[in-house]
């Protein structure tokens, strides 16, 4: 060969592709911001609160995180699917109330109430989903309506039936002990007390992650949240996907509601208001875009963990709990800013 041509590019390697370092790949993950935030919060309270690093505190923090995380995982999936559920907080209370009152009034065994509650809660979830997909109104409005209606029903029905704002004790009923084992037991490992909700949380996050990343339904969740019209045009069942997501939230609300009932024996009918925002914030801190199409279930777990650490850390630091809200707001703003930046990168040359 006597020509002076450039040697051809080596086959296999693409000259247009810059080497992506593992660090750069990590930067593209939706959970990144929440993990950095969790590390910072952990470090912070380790320094300012002496008792924060004790093993027993760890069990308490995890418990606080789990009660939020159980709901935050399906709420994160729903947000990736492009929708909100403002009724999620009071739905937990409704689920507990239905279970308690049905058992007390109608039967002798609490398990009957538990299953009736499952059906009722799923029906409310289906109502949210079907109203949304049939009317095509924003989910914000639909679930705001459900939220208010449920808040009223919770109080109204409880006062009507038991005469007070809380339900009657069902602690002496048949099946209470076994139901308590499933929904509200605790076990001790090395002197640290762990609640069963931590297990529920771990399992729900694992299932949610599996569904999201490795099933057809998961692919559809990303698609209906990212661009519902495009998804429908290639044959994705948009309505079924969205209704399925609301059923997921309802299922988790049922689990949380039963935990509420069987750990305290009685249910306060006014509880749950405001929690819906907590779940949404946990999901957003975990990397879910408020506009849908992007996020992760593991991120929601990290977001819930941040919640747990902050709420308990402030107590261990012996501060006024009022500061909790300030921390929350600051976390949310930082997380949203980071997410906006991530999204810009992801959609770079639109």
């Amino acid at each position: 060969m006597t020509t002076t041509e450039q040697p051809p590019a080596p086959s296999g390697a693409d000259e247009r592709l810059l080497r992506t370092s593992p660090l750069r790949r990590l930067l593209g993950r939706p959970e990144l911001g929440s993990v950095v935030g969790a590390a910072a919060v952990f470090l912070f309270f380790s320094i300012v609160a002496d008792s924060f690093l004790r093993a027993s505190s760890f069990g308490t923090v995890l418990y606080a995180a789990s009660t939020i995380g159980i709901m935050a995982a399906p709420v994160a999936l729903l947000m990736i699917g492009g929708e909100f559920d403002l009724s999620a907080g009071v739905l937990v209370t409704s689920s507990a109330l239905v279970s308690s009152m049905f058992s007390y009034q109608m039967t002798a065994n609490v398990w009957v109430g538990v299953f009736v509650s499952l059906l009722v809660t799923l029906a409310i979830g289906a109502f949210n989903g079907l109203m949304l997909t049939r009317t095509k109104l924003p989910s914000f409005i639909i679930t705001l309506g459900t939220f208010l209606m449920l808040t009223g029903l919770n109080l109204g029905f409880t006062k009507l039936i038991s005469g007070t704002v809380s339900t009657k004790s069902i602690g002496d009923m048949e099946g209470f002990d076994s139901a308590r084992k499933v929904f509200a037991s605790e076990w001790t490992v090395g002197g640290v007390e762990f609640k069963v909700t931590i297990l529920w949380w771990a399992v729900l996050v694992a299932i949610a992650t599996g569904i999201l990343l490795r099933t057809r339904f998961g692919n559809w969740i990303f698609a209906v949240g990212g661009e519902a019209d495009a998804a429908r045009a290639v044959g994705v069942p948009v309505i079924r996907t969205k209704v399925g997501l609301y059923l997921g939230v309802a299922f988790a609300a049922w689990v949380s509601g039963q935990h509420l009932l069987f750990s305290y024996d009685v249910v306060q009918s006014g509880e749950g208001v405001g929690n819906e925002l907590t779940y949404i914030i946990a999901a957003v801190i975990g990397g879910c875009l408020i506009t849908g199409g992007y996020g992760s279930a593991i991120g929601s777990a990290v977001g819930a963990f941040i919640f747990g650490m902050t709420s308990k850390g402030i107590v261990y630091a012996e501060w006024n709990p009022d500061w909790f809200k300030f921390f929350l707001g600051a976390m949310l703003l930082l997380a949203t800013l980071l997410n906006a930046w991530v999204r810009k990168r992801a959609e770079a040359t639109k």
Partner: protein
């Protein structure tokens, strides 16, 4: 217009569509054969979108007949159309920008492994197929994991076309594939359209660019205000005539008169301000 010896893949005969008392489409006929490109030309509001929505299964026609493989049909939804081999590539809603290329490629028709409730996505196959199928169409992708929103408009159209070909479409409906593209990118997309035709697909190309249409088209249907204003085979019409009809013929002459009048006094005419 009678059906020639090989049966048409799609045949619309005097199809109409009404939205309330508005005639969106009236008495439009269109034939699509395998290995041929039928172009639908028309200005904004001519009824092009309505026509493809009927073919794609998003809307149902109200009058006339719609034959697929010689069989009269009314499509229930886009899934129904896909199952009958009609794939539609929309100019703006072809893909989900935030999702990786490989997830987009298989969206709605994901392959799975495993049984019963434990079916999971066959991620390996999805990635490999995406890469090889795009390579076969001549798109050498840097990374199938990148969000499809990071591709250029032309590349996104090509991915959508490759997807339709891979899933065994017999009829490919393209909605203004070159509308938002530059000259070079339009050329690339038209090349893939021709490649799809050579692969034996019947193509419906919707456009308002007669030059692009004439480059690849075998027959041309002109729409105007919801009605058909012309239907020609390629050997029955020249590019100039197609352009003239497309631009509205006599209306164009009138417009050129008006423009001459408007520009002559040196300042723009003030008559057109309301």
């Amino acid at each position: 217009m009678t059906t020639p010896a090989p049966r048409a893949l799609i045949e619309l005969d005097h199809v109409s569509k009404f939205y309330g008392n508005i005639k969106a489409l009236q008495d439009v006929s269109l034939v699509v054969h395998a290995g041929e490109i039928s172009c639908v030309l028309g200005d904004n509001g001519a009824g092009k979108s309505t026509l493809i929505k009927i073919i794609a299964g998003l809307h149902r026609h109200d009058a006339g007949t719609f034959l697929i493989d010689g069989e009269e049909t009314t499509l229930a939804n886009p899934r129904d159309a896909l199952d009958r081999g009609i794939a539609t590539v929309y100019q703006d809603l072809a893909v989900v920008p935030l999702m990786p290329v490989w997830r987009n490629f298989f969206l709605g028709s994901e392959p799975t492994t495993g049984v019963g409730p434990f079916k999971t996505l066959d991620v390996r196959k999805m990635r490999e197929t995406t890469r090889s199928e795009l390579l076969r169409m001549g798109i050498d992708l840097r990374d199938v994991d990148q969000p499809i929103g990071t591709l250029s408009g032309g590349e996104r159209q090509c991915v959508a076309i490759a997807r339709a070909v891979y899933f065994g479409a017999k009829v490919l409906v393209l909605d203004e594939p070159t509308a938002a593209l530059g000259v070079k990118q339009s050329g690339v997309v038209l090349k893939y359209v021709a490649a799809a035709r050579d692969a034996g697909l019947g193509v419906v190309l919707i456009t308002h660019n007669p030059h692009h249409a004439y480059l690849v088209g075998d027959r041309f249907v002109l729409l105007k205000r919801g009605a058909m204003s012309g239907s020609h085979a390629k050997d029955g019409i020249t590019l100039d005539e197609l352009t003239r009809q497309m631009a509205g013929g006599s209306e164009l002459e009138e417009l050129s008169h008006e423009l001459q009048r408007a520009t002559s006094p040196g300042r723009p005419d003030t008559d057109d301000t309301p």
